[in-house]
Symmetry: C2
Subunit: 111 residues, 2 copies
DNA sequence: TTGTTAATTAACTATTATGTTATTCAACTA
DNA sequence: TAGTTGAATAACATAATAGTTAATTAACAA
């Protein structure tokens, strides 16, 4: 079996669940949050959220920080970096959309 | 529940399995291949490979092309594009590695 | 202490995924 | 036509996921 340089599969798998992708998206847009604050991300119980956070953590997608009783979660930059690097290294498959990448980068720069 | 703009989760999920990630990696590095040619990607039966290909196809990650009895598979550029765009749009989390992105792009340009 | 808050772990259930072998289907080939 | 090839589907077993409620753990507050 062929393997990829970095263990990317577990990260992809972690982001493959809609609830977990929503958690990561939220942590990136709104910054670090406690497990309790993330409760409203989906209509599921607290233990369910807790398990999703565990999966994300074990895949190296998020990190945990302890603040008294609270567990604060934030996105692990290296994880995003790894995925970004992979996609970019394979960019010949975006077929002629290298321009579009430049566009995206430009628009980000200005915001 | 929060949702992401594009249905990225199924693509991440599809790439989250090591065998499927290997298939996609192979199709990108070696070009389009038939189901049979992909047989050696993992030590599993042909039907198992066939099912993985179906999952990838349903997630929009690969496309199928029919050539007589053969089914030729190739990577769907839009899928990679979608993932790349997402990561790039979130690039503030690569923490100071914007330079590194430039590096990656440069090295790709020359190869 | 005693109680409250925040979150996880335990135990369990239901569903989904992944693998198997056997079968079917379609398209070539002799 | 009869046989072969390439690949998918069918039927099934088992493992992994994702959810639930109940119980536990740890930290703070009265």
């Amino acid at each position: 079996m062929e393997s990829t340089p970095t263990p990317l599969a577990p990260k992809f798998a972690a982001l493959g669940d809609p609830t977990r992708l929503a958690i990561v998206t939220r942590l990136m847009s709104d910054g670090p949050q406690s497990a309790g604050q993330l409760q409203d991300i989906a209509d599921i119980s607290a233990p369910a959220i807790s398990r999703h956070l565990k999966v994300l953590r074990q895949a190296g997608v998020i990190r945990q920080q302890i603040d008294a009783q609270r567990r604060i979660y934030s996105v692990e930059p290296e994880a995003l970096q790894a995925i970004a690097s992979w996609t970019i290294s394979k960019r010949e498959f975006w077929e002629g959309s290298l321009d579009r990448l430049a566009q995206i980068l430009d628009s980000q720069k200005e915001s």
